[in-house]
Amino acid sequence: MEKVLLLSPWQAEQAGPKALAGFDAVMTGSEFCQNELPSAKAAAALAGAAGNFILATPLMTDKALGGWERFVRKNRSLLAEVVVNDWGFAGFLRTQRGLKISAGRLMMRELALLAPAWAKDFIRRHNILRGEADRPDLAEAAKRLGLGVSWHGGYVFRAVTTYCPFENHFRAACALSCAGRTLKLTNRQLGQDLFLAANAYFSKQTKKVPASAARQVFRPAGSGPA
């Protein structure tokens, strides 16, 4: 099974070749926060060290969209794959001929429920080859739609906000105050802890890697969910 290391852009800045040992690819960016665009320098270093560089992308506003598009255009040669969650950004990626795409965890939540014929047509037209999954039903949906299953162990996505919980604003620019921080949140009513990383809430992964998984996404030891 292919192994991918998922790093936040902040971790990507600091990751040396040693951290990437044993992985087939490295993924950075964010599926949830539009402000977590990696630097070109980190992207080049990671691509050089890991061989395969995967960019994770979130839902985004017009103000953020331009930056993500520029990043893809400028670093096109470095990119082995892009994980997409935004319908509009998927349209942009379609113009980048030959670029391999994976449907992100948010987009998979939609594709899993949409009419299969429409979803398969969308997947074909956008060169989507994989689906990111953190729940068995999403892994099953990815398989059903003919996508390779990319399994996220560790944590399950639960909710996302656009109002930065660390800096209290909606801006498409920030001071990265969330860097390296994961908040463990406990309320007895909920029955399980939540973990806040960047602008998204997660719970601990309790499901085993599905048999259909062709790739597994790992976080660095002791690291939070996003």
């Binding site: 985004m60 017009d62 319908w87 909710a159 909606f170 406990t186 009513q189 806040l196 809430y201």
Partner: protein
Amino acid sequence: MKITAGVKSRKEAEYFLANGADEVYCGLVSLRNNRLPRENFSGPEDLRPVLELAHRAGKKVFVAVNELVREAEHPETLRTLAALKDMGADGAILRDPALLTYFKKKKFKFYFTLSTLANCFNSKTLGFFAKLGLSRLVLPMQLMPENAERLIKNRYGLDTEVFCQALYYGVNLDSLCTLPCPQTSENFSKKFTDFTCLLPYACGKDIFRMPMPPPEYMFGAFYDYYHLGAGHAKVARWPNILREIDLFQKVRLLVKLLEKGVSRKLFIHEGLRIDAKPMQYGKSFTLKSLAG
């Protein structure tokens, strides 16, 4: 700015239409939408008196199909919406691109509004949906005017509708949230009488609450939306009708202030006088409806 109010019954429609709503919208049990069955009309015939009432007053009625719809249900959804259109319904609120594609293929034209649940945060996403035949866009509740100009002044000529976020704000993106919530499940509502996103969480030695923007900011956002050209203010369907009526009356006052041309500073000041603690909406989710 026109006001659109969600309704669960004929009596609620009568109330809102008689008290200043320009439009009402509702769900039908047979059409997938993001409310529980008990918050929907039983079928098209149940809706007929509302259509007659609204049209006598020169007002409009929309139907919500604002969830993803199974492929097998597409034909029946089309038949129901076509029947409603024939009865005089003015349009439908959707979020499903596959369903919109199906309608386009079947040459079914209607006034389609893209639901807030579609999470349309940028103009490229709007382009993706607009080509499927939209007439209006409801902006995501978590999108602020500072990021919405290109959506409001869009090149497709679509109307835009906004929530009065100062009075009603979803902490997380609704359609992607899997936290237990009274909005989404009968079972959970027994355990969770309130939104779990409003609960206090222990975080180390501190108490953590999922953050919301301050009311001053949100009143300013509503002011900015109006001045950017958003044409409709939405008062969402709310299980507790007393709470919805309260929200509706406050939105009416705010819209009147905007139409008077007050300054942004005065608008925020008056907004805070109208509702000093606008975000404390939590405990109002228990079902209380005007039946009939």
